[in-house]
Structure formats: C-alpha cells, structure tokens
C-alpha cells in the first residue's frame, strides 16, 4: 500500500471514516434487540427474521432491482448513442444542453410533468412507466460520462475506419465502442446507483400496486426507520461489496472513471 502517503493519509482515511460512520450505525442497529433507535439492548438477528417475514419490503426491493437494471440498460443504449452522435457527428452546444437537462431538472417538477403526460396519454401507470422515467435522467448521466471520454479520444480513429470502407454501424461496434467501454461501464454503474435510490419520480410515475423500495421506506419513515430496513440495507451493502470485489478482480475499474 502507498506508504509514501505521509500526511495525505489524514484526508484519505478521514473521508472513509466519514462515509462509513453512518453505515456502521446502520449495521450496528440492525442487530439491536429492541427497535428503540437510541438504546442498545442486546444482540439479536431478530430483524433479519422480520425482514424475511415482511413481504412489502422484499417486493419493494425486487421491484427496485428490476427498475434499476432495465432502466440502466435503456439508459446505456440511448445515452451512449447520443454521446457518440454529439461527439462525432453533430457538434452543437444547444443539443448538449438539452441532453444534460434531464439530469439537472428538479425531480419533483419532472415527476409531475411525466405524470401529466402519462395520464393524458391514459397510459396505465406501473413499473414500466417508472423504468421509462428513470431511463430518461440516467441516460443524461451516461451521455455526460461517455461524452467526456470521447472528448479525450482522437476522433481520427473513426475517420480512419470509415476511410477503410467500414460502415457507420461497423465503425461504432468495432472501433468506437471498444475504446469507450470503460466509460460506458462507469455510466451504467452510476445509472444503476441513481435509479436504486430514486424516490420522487418513482412515487409519481408508479402504479398503485408496484411500489419500489424507496417508496416503501419513505412511507414507513413515519415511525422512524424500522430496523428491518437497517437489516435490508446491511444485506444490500454486503452483497454489493461482494459483487464489486469479484468484478474488480477482472474488470479494471480504475481507468474507467
């Protein structure tokens, strides 16, 4: 490990301590016997049992995963194509601003706008309308990240491929895509993260019978966070850490960002 960090160790470990202090509290509270948030009354895995016995949290979690995955796929396709289009074929600041607006549009106003659109098209609200909405702002982030990467890459690669008789689509798959693969992965990771946590748009564009986890948690927060949710958060944290460690082994994350 970089022993030559010297005083730089302070900010680095300081940041990690800061980020993980609440997480530690979460994990700690998930093993608390009683549900009183401020008093520790003995170790127990009671809440993990209760978690498995509370269907709406698990269903909510399943819905959230489904939305996050499909929305990320859609966002990656749309976002990457748009980024390449803006970088290589149609340079215009106005279009780039439009491509970014979904990411900075206040989510409540976007939610109300989307809700009005869906109701006017009398499109039955459900998980699909949430997926469509999430893909919208996730694509904006993918476009931003992939566009940033294309900005540094030498654009003559594509011209060379075209010159050698490759079709537009062929060039994209054989030349452009491989060179931006790390950025696309980074974009996908970010989209997945954002969709996983999104509450406002999900609440307004969702059907009545398919709540996502953030909605379930938000409606339950009336009585303070019940420990089952801490238990779920702990499980989510551990599984995602595992997935990352495995993925990190073979996928060089470092040069994607």
């Amino acid at each position: 490990m970089g022993s030559k960090l010297g005083w730089l160790k302070l900010p680095l470990y300081g940041v990690l301590l800061f980020l993980y202090l609440p997480i530690a509290v979460l994990i700690f509270m998930s093993f608390n016997q009683s549900d009183a948030p401020f008093t520790w009354s003995g170790f127990s895995t009671r809440w993990y049992g209760e978690l498995l016995a509370s269907p709406e949290i698990l269903i909510g979690f399943k819905n959230t995963l489904l939305v996050a995955i499909v929305a990320t796929l859609l966002a990656v396709i749309l976002g990457t194509l748009l980024a390449v289009g803006l970088a290589r074929y149609q340079r215009s600041a106005a279009l780039e601003a439009i491509a970014l607006t979904p990411a900075i549009f206040p989510d409540l106003a976007l939610a109300i706008g989307l809700l009005t659109l869906f109701t006017n098209l009398n499109y039955a609200l459900g998980l699909d309308s949430v997926i469509i909405s999430h893909a919208l702002f996730c694509a904006a982030f993918v476009t931003a990240i992939v566009r940033g990467r294309l900005h540094q890459l030498d654009s003559s690669l594509e011209q060379a491929a075209a010159d050698l008789g490759d079709t537009t689509v062929g060039t994209f798959f054989r030349i452009t895509l491989p060179s931006i693969k790390p950025a696309v992965i980074a974009g996908a990771l970010l989209s997945f993260t954002l969709s996983l946590d999104e509450f406002v748009i999900a609440f307004f564009t969702n059907g009545p019978s398919t709540p996502t986890l953030p909605i379930v948690i938000y409606s339950m927060v009336r009585f303070g966070v019940s420990p089952e949710i801490n238990a779920l958060a702990t499980l989510v944290l551990l599984t995602s850490a595992l997935i990352i460690i495995i993925a990190q082994r073979n996928l060089k994350v470092k040069d994607q960002i």
């Binding site: 109300i112 809700l115 006017n120 009398n122 307004f204 009545p208 709540p211 938000y218 009336r222 009585f223």
Partner: protein, 365 residues
C-alpha cells in the same frame, strides 16, 4: 439542427392538444350502482397511510367477497392528492385522506357520492359525526378515525409546569427551550397560534394571519424542530419534553412511557377526521362500497381502536374497545360532544397559497 427544430415544434402542437383534454368535467354525481354486482369479478386498489390498517385486511376482504385487494401506501395527504388530481385515472379506487382534502377532491368532481344503501353498517356512524364541516351529511366521505390536536408531554420531566394552554407550547419556560416540537403540516403548524390568539383555524383574514405569523416566528426560537412523524419517539427518548401532537399519536408515546400525557389546551383545538372516499374514475364502485361497509363492521373498526389507539366515529366499535383502553389512554375517552366543540378544518380554497406562504416564511426565517 434542422431535424431537432422540427421535433420541438411538433411537440408543442401536440402538447396544446393534450393539455386541453386534461380538464375533466366539474361537479359530482353518482351513476346508478348495481347492488348485486359480482364482487369477485372486481378488484380494489386502496391508498392509505402505512401501518394504519389491519395487516390482513386485504386477505380477509378477499376471503369474504372474492375481490382482489391491493393496498398501496402514501406518507402524507399531499402526495396522494397530487396523484388523484393529476387528471386521468390514477388507478386508485378507495383513498384515505383527511376531511379538508376530501372536500377539495369533491369540489373538483373527482369523488363518487356514496350510495348508503350499499353501506348498511354506516348505521354505526355516530350521529354527531354525520354533520362534519368538510362534508355535511357525509355525502361523499365516511370518517375512518377522528380526534383532536393538543400537547403531548412528559409529565415526569415537566413536574409543576404541566401545559394547559397553547402558550405553554409557543412560549415555553427557559429550561424547556430546545425541547419542544411543533407539527410541520401547514394547517396544524398554524393551529396553536390561531387558537392562542383566539382566531378560527380556517380564518382567511390576512391581518389575523399576519399576527399568527409573528407569533409563530417568535415561537420558532424555542423549537427543537418541526416534526410530524417521529415526535413521540423524541418524548420517549427524552430529546423533547413537549410536542404538538394528534391525540391518537400521543398514545404511541404513552404506550412506551406511562408519564407521557395528552392535554387539549384551554383555548380549544381542531376536530380532524381521516376519511374514506371512492374515486369517480374507479371501475369497481360496488366493491369500494363493500370495502367501506366492511370497515364499518364493529369488529374490523374496533381493530383500529385497539391497535392504532385512535377514536373512531363508530358507536358499536367504540363500545366494544373503549372500556379496556380508556384507563391507559385517557384521550380515547374524549366524547363525541367534546370533539364537536373543536373546530373542523375545511379546505381554504384560494387562501391555501396564503397559508403556504406564511408557513414558508415561518420555517425559512
């Protein structure tokens, strides 16, 4: 660039077209309901606050009537109102909203007038609860639970200073500074100051509201926080000693700590009611009426009293559950008459923006 310009022009035209169709017809009316419709063919979507109903109500109802019931949660009135008023079919058949919001929905012609013949159990409805200010005659809503707002406090931590007036909350003694919370939801944020100054909780007089604002701004200095969710938890933990609270909710604190008591301040308070309404856009109105009727069954409604510690305007249910509870939870014993002396909240119409603006100004100061 040309291609994009074409697309945006196209969308604006489409928008105007769609926009116009969004305004639904005004006025409420009721289409004739078929009393012996086959409820097993119908399905119900009910939007209600979390943990505010028997866990198994959906399963039990389906068992009894064969109707597939989906329960969805909303955290506040405002959120479900936004969904219901966005135009088109929200997919919700029955919604649980506070009285003044039911009034607003009815005024926008979104509610189905209730066909009492399909709700025989409504005979259990306490007479006094039939003429509530937001829906005199219970034409489009049935109260699910009702009560009043007051001060919930730690009698052990406030020995000798037990609160009796709203001013005890608004201008607490120095040693209680920073240990007081008030409700964040607008109408109940204003309530203590309105009552302390002797005004109506539905006042639309700007001069009065200006004085209410000043009093609230002065009170803010002593506040720990505005909180309408976890305030009773603060009493249990001792973070707060006195909180503005709905009567039922204070009982959650009392259940955890006997010293937590509730008082209706001398200047009077409000009469709130959480109601059940049926949406005009619902395609399962008969099942909806059956659901309301099912809630008003003495056993089901008394579940609410026993488990949520709320008073319900159902004579049979109260008679069944009250005696066991009134000892531990005195505010369950507030009689319907006493409740009726409090002021019912009604929708403010145009003045809503005034209230919101004042609430913003108070919290932003």
């Amino acid at each position: 660039m040309r291609m994009v310009r074409k697309a945006t022009v196209g969308s604006v035209a489409a928008l105007l077209l769609i926009g116009l169709s969004a305004c639904g017809g005004a006025g409420s009316g009721s289409s004739a309901l078929d009393p012996n419709a086959d409820l097993s063919q119908q399905k119900l979507t009910v939007s209600i606050w979390a943990a505010y109903y028997p866990e198994d109500i959906a399963a039990k109802f389906e068992e009894k009537f064969g109707t597939k019931v989906t329960i969805t949660n909303h955290a506040t009135n405002e959120e479900v109102m936004a969904k219901l008023t966005a135009g088109g079919d929200s997919g919700i058949d029955v919604a649980f909203v506070s009285g003044q919001f039911a009034q607003a929905l009815a005024a926008q012609g979104l509610l189905e007038n209730l066909d009492k013949s399909l709700i025989p159990n409504s005979s259990n409805l306490i007479k006094e609860a039939e003429q509530l200010s937001y829906d005199p005659g219970a034409k489009y809503s049935l109260p699910y639970a009702w009560g009043t707002t007051g001060i919930c406090y730690r009698s052990d931590l406030m020995k000798g200073d037990e609160p009796t007036s709203w001013n005890d909350l608004l201008t607490p003694k120095a040693k209680y500074k920073g240990k007081v919370t008030m409700l964040a939801t607008e109408r109940w944020l204003m309530l203590p100051a309105q009552k302390a100054l002797g005004y109506s909780a539905n006042t639309q007089d700007e001069a009065e509201m200006a004085k209410v604002k000043d009093l609230l701004i002065k009170a803010k200095a002593n506040l720990l926080a505005y909180d309408d969710t976890t305030f009773y938890e603060r009493l249990v933990s001792g973070e707060a000693v006195m909180v503005e609270s709905w009567d039922g909710w204070c009982n959650y604190g009392t259940a955890k700590n006997k010293n937590i008591k509730f008082v209706v301040p001398s200047e009077g308070s409000d009469l709130w009611a959480d109601t059940m309404v049926v949406l005009k856009t619902s395609k399962n109105k008969e099942a909806a009426h059956a659901f309301l009727n099912y809630i008003y069954d003495a056993d089901v409604h008394s579940w609410v009293v026993d488990n949520i510690l709320y008073k319900v305007p159902n004579t049979a249910a109260m008679a069944k559950s009250l005696p066991a509870l009134v000892g531990d939870f005195p505010n369950m014993g507030i009689s319907p008459n006493e409740l009726l002396q409090q002021e019912g909240l009604v929708d403010l119409g145009k003045a809503s923006s005034l209230y919101t603006r004042i609430a913003t100004e108070v919290t932003a100061k």
